[in-house]
Symmetry: C2
Subunit: 227 residues, 2 copies
């Protein structure tokens, strides 16, 4: 684990949340983008998933489930799940929907993302773009991932046909949660031209203030500005 930036000391750790992330991950990116867009100071630690760091003692002491992203509060307690972390960082900011019904709709789409999109787009992308040398491990799974992920993208496309953003036409944490992997779908072999409303929404998200692309933001250098 490599702490990002040079100015870390104990007192800082105790004042802001520390978020453990990994490079290239759509799930880790959600936390980084929310923090950036609401101007929230956080401490960041990079964990190298490909090198096995999430499964070794130092990180397992932080999160026994061995998963990133993971957020540790100043009181030392923590929690996981990318969309729960995004929600926490967005709470009380312009990215949180205003009404009870709109917050419930945001949760609806965050659960949809974790059950109908991310489980298919993320592994398809991993074995296609991140670790193509390991593609033989899962060759037989790929058609199912593409089929199920495309079914999820169709639902998303129908939703975005009549509105600009995920919840009530206002850009919110729900957009960032869904965007995290959807905008990377072509790296998994999905064809986003088949989903024109999704493609237009991706452009709208990319034109928001303080938007920074994943490769630029999710690095020690990029996150040096989000602290």
């Amino acid at each position: 684990m490599n702490a990002s930036g040079a100015s870390e000391d104990k007192s800082e750790l105790e004042q802001v949340p520390r978020i453990f992330v990994t490079g290239g991950s759509g799930n880790s990116y959600k936390a980084a983008l929310v923090a950036r867009q609401v101007g929230l100071g956080c401490a960041w630690t990079f964990v190298d998933v490909l090198a096995g760091e999430t499964q070794r003692a130092p990180f397992l002491k932080v999160n026994p489930l061995g998963k990133v992203p993971y957020l540790v509060l100043p009181d030392g307690t923590g929690f996981g799940e990318s969309n729960a972390i995004a929600w926490f960082l967005a709470d009380g900011t312009k990215l949180m929907p205003c009404s009870s019904a709109s917050r419930a709709r945001a949760i609806q789409w965050m659960i949809f993302e974790q059950t109908r999109l991310e489980p298919f787009i993320s592994p398809a992308r991993f074995f296609t773009t991140i670790a193509p040398a390991r593609r033989t491990e899962c060759e037989s799974e790929i058609p199912r991932w593409l089929e199920n992920g495309s079914a999820g993208l169709s639902v998303l496309d129908a939703h975005l046909r009549t509105q600009d953003f995920m919840v009530e036409n206002s850009y919110s944490v729900a957009d960032i949660a869904v965007f995290g992997y959807v905008h990377l779908a072509e790296e998994g072999g999905f064809c986003l031209r088949d989903f024109p409303s999704v493609s237009r929404w991706i452009s709208r998200v990319e034109s928001q203030a303080d938007y920074i692309p994943i490769r630029e933001l999710l690095s020690p250098r990029g996150l040096a500005h989000v602290r």
Copy 2:
């Protein structure tokens, strides 16, 4: 679709949320139990999933995705996802955790439930207890469901070893979301004696004020008291 109770009229439909549910469903039960425990009046419509009603025109007009539970607001708009519905009904009540961090933890566990528990417990239970005559359709899947669901139950058991309820030792919407299917796991062939902390937590949930078991509550007669 059969509306529950006899006293339905148009004016009532426009004043309270209408929730479409199906008998026996752990996901539908979550909405019913939250509404019951916070004393919230709702209108209820039963949809017979086994008879194919969720895939036919009258219901598809309500929810084009053909899924229950589904909530329609007095303004005519609606949303799905059992845990989003439970969250909406719990918002502003004693079942909503108080702090920003505890609400994020509740969302963490609601997503965990939908990704690591429900996708395995629910189909295993369906083909074991609800529609055993159809078990041959998926015989080869059952070992994988039992293995993956048991892995999720192990994580849950470890969590509940050190605390009484899902989030910060206070009974909340997160308990109801996780309880929905977990307490039915034995009907799917899971052995809850292997998860003693989960078993003790189930008893704690069952001893809450206004707890009503699924078979009693999730029926037109049971829901006549939640309106």
